[in-house]
């Protein structure tokens, strides 16, 4: 968990074995309320840092989920198609969104670690 990074838009990204896993933070799922639908990128799709990569819809709102880094999508969490509630139950593990091969490791520079993100969220409330 130590190398997990967070964005100001409440996405998390964790690199392991040349592949990064992306999802939304537990704070984000709590703010959204019950998630009813997640639109994930397709395998093979190129995503660009800061651009829309997925869409999440809750009972309150539909929101874009931005890519925390650029790269090529290598896997998507198909379990969310049938059970979007996984995002609420387990945003930072089983409720992951997609995996990708990073184009540029330096994209992760400037993202927050867990401690900095916790402080960032604290300041929002």
């Amino acid at each position: 968990m130590s190398d997990r990074k967070y964005t100001k838009d409440h996405e998390w990204i964790e690199v392991s074995g040349g592949e990064a896993t992306i999802g939304i933070s537990d704070y984000a799922q709590d703010q959204l309320g019950d998630v009813v639908y997640v639109d994930l990128p397709d395998v093979g799709q190129q995503v660009e840092k800061g651009a829309e990569a997925a869409v999440i819809e809750s009972v309150k709102a539909a929101s874009e989920v931005y890519a925390p880094a650029s790269g090529e999508v290598t896997a998507r969490n198909d379990a969310l198609d049938d059970n979007p509630a996984l995002v609420n139950e387990s945003a930072e593990s089983d409720g992951w969104f997609y995996r990708m091969k990073l184009s540029n490791m330096s994209d992760l520079d400037g993202l927050m670690d867990a401690e900095a993100y916790a402080a960032f969220v604290e300041a929002l409330d």
């Binding site: 019950d34 009813v36 639908y37 819809e57 009972v59 309150k60 709102a61 979007p84 509630a85």
Partner: protein, 503 residues
């Protein structure tokens, strides 16, 4: 004494839950006594129907009661205060209805020869005149069927204007405080949507806006007053800047009620704006529909406004339906929502120019009255006076465990349609309250009393379980919106399948 009672029938007083008509089916029961089919040879062969047709069998009084019972579960502007923000649920004057039913108006057919419909065309022409005068714009397209189609009409005209100049463009700027349909409209018209953040006081962030301007920007879609219930004070500068890069300025006129008779959008530099006749000009909406969203255009976009239009030639009114030129295509069949045109013009003429100005003033006054009376318990999301609607966040409920949704549901038990909730998205737990000008001070005071009472109960912490379960006095308790969205049941299916036609 606090007596709770679960009724034997499940009814709550005179209100009862009502099964679907299909669930009340008694095969063969009917309200019409048809003669037996003649004993004639069947010539349909294999095309003959094999099974039931799936319509419920009900007697006439069952059908009548079914729909009357359903109607009692509805909430209407004719029943009570309807403070749904950004919807302008004002009273629909009965005078409008009377005029819409006049012989010659209520029974006119769209395909009658224009020699027999001169009065009707004149009515459309006069309404068009009022709309262009009130907005200070060059022309109007009357046909769009509602606000969202009006937006589409305006954005199609903007696209046509750029294409006519041989320079199609890519991006449309949309502030975060715009209506949700604005980015959807830009996207469906083929544009990339670029969002402009709001400032801490709920207006367009001018620095961010200027930074996003460029030669690929087709235009801006702005709602004014915006969905924070605030007037965009930099609007003239915004218009200058968007025009400076060759873009056009689309304004969402959904909130025109706050400024009608006070400000002319044309004077602000707006190029296109739809007007919801069903909001500002009191024609019915909210399940009662239909909407009507005429679009006014500046000189710059007038050549692209869609037909038809009414013109006067030699003292006669004509409906122009075809013309060479760069206009965008027809938006709707025939003349548009003519019945709404009658009601809107009746409203305008019965109020007059001075009356319409007072409409805007009273709408703003009522919203500010509500804001002032609630602000110690429910602080406004942004400082200063509001326009026609007041936006509060859920700060007043912090630490109570009661959320915006729970408060809205409790309002139903108190006999009110809830305000708009969780919109705009930029405010946490948003509650958007639009009382409109047609409510009395007594009605506003009652509503304010209920809102204050509910917030105080939430803060006292003793009723949290109630808030989480509300509404409890309705024939149906709180609906499971999450389940409905995750596993929607879109079609009734009989429990025991009826015999299907042979494959």
């Amino acid at each position: 004494m606090n007596i709770e009672r679960t009724t034997i029938s499940g009814a709550r007083g005179l209100d009862r839950d009502e099964p679907l008509s299909f669930e009340q089916d008694a095969p063969g029961r009917t309200g019409v006594d048809l003669p037996a089919a003649p004993d004639a040879p069947d010539r349909l062969g294999s095309l003959r129907r094999q099974g039931g047709i799936g319509l419920p069998g009900l007697a006439e009084p069952q059908v009548v009661r079914h729909f009357v019972r359903l109607s009692r579960m509805n909430y209407a502007i004719d029943y009570g205060l309807y403070p749904l923000g950004s919807c302008t649920m004002k009273h629909n004057p009965r005078l409008n209805e009377r005029l819409a039913r006049l012989p010659g108006i209520g029974d006119v057919h769209p395909m009658q020869p224009t020699s027999t419909t001169q009065g009707v065309l004149r009515l459309m022409s006069e309404l068009a005149h009022w709309l262009t005068e009130l907005t200070g714009m060059a022309t109007v397209a009357m046909t769009p069927g509602a606000g969202a189609q009006g937006e589409m009409c305006g954005m199609m005209a903007i696209r046509a204007a750029h294409e006519a100049r041989g320079e199609p463009r890519k991006r449309v700027l949309v502030p975060e405080s715009a209506h949700g349909t604005n980015p959807a409209t830009a996207a469906i018209c083929g544009y990339e949507v670029d969002s402009i953040p709001a400032t801490a006081d709920g207006r367009v962030d001018m620095a961010a806006f200027e930074a996003k301007l460029g030669p690929d920007v087709a235009g801006l879609m702005l709602t004014n007053p915006n969905t924070c219930g605030l007037f965009e004070r930099d609007i003239i500068r915004i218009a200058e800047l968007i025009h400076g890069v060759g873009g056009y300025f689309y304004c969402d006129g959904a909130n025109f009620n706050a400024i009608v008779g006070k400000v002319r959008p044309g004077d602000l530099g707006i190029d296109a704006m739809h007007i919801n006749l069903h909001k500002t000009f009191s024609t019915p909406h909210g399940g009662g529909g239909p909407g009507s969203g005429p679009v006014v255009f500046s000189e710059a976009l007038a050549p692209y406004a869609p037909l038809p239009k009414v013109v006067q030639r030699d003292g006669r009114y004509e409906l122009v339906e075809q013309e060479d030129g760069p206009r965008v295509g027809r938006m709707k069949g025939f003349h548009g929502q003519f019945g709404m045109f009658v009601r809107a013009l009746a409203y305008m003429q019965s109020h007059g120019r001075d009356g319409l100005k007072q409409v805007a003033e009273d709408a703003v006054l009522n919203a500010n009255y509500v804001m002032e009376k609630l602000k110690d318990l429910l602080p406004p999301a942004y400082p200063g006076p509001c326009m026609h609607e007041v936006l509060v966040s859920d700060r007043g409920l912090d630490g109570t465990g009661v959320e915006t949704m729970d408060l809205a549901k409790a309002l139903i038990d108190e006999g009110y349609h809830p305000m708009t909730v969780y919109f705009p998205l930029i405010v946490h737990g948003a509650m958007l309250i639009e009382p409109t000008e047609t409510e009395t001070r007594e009605t506003l005071d009652s509503f304010i009393g209920v809102m204050r009472g509910l917030v105080e109960q939430a803060r006292a912490g003793e009723e949290t379980a109630y808030f989480k379960a509300a509404p409890v006095m309705t024939p149906r308790r709180r609906l499971d919106e999450t389940l409905a969205a995750r596993k929607p049941v879109l079609r009734w299916v009989p429990e025991a399948p009826v015999a299907e036609a042979a494959e």
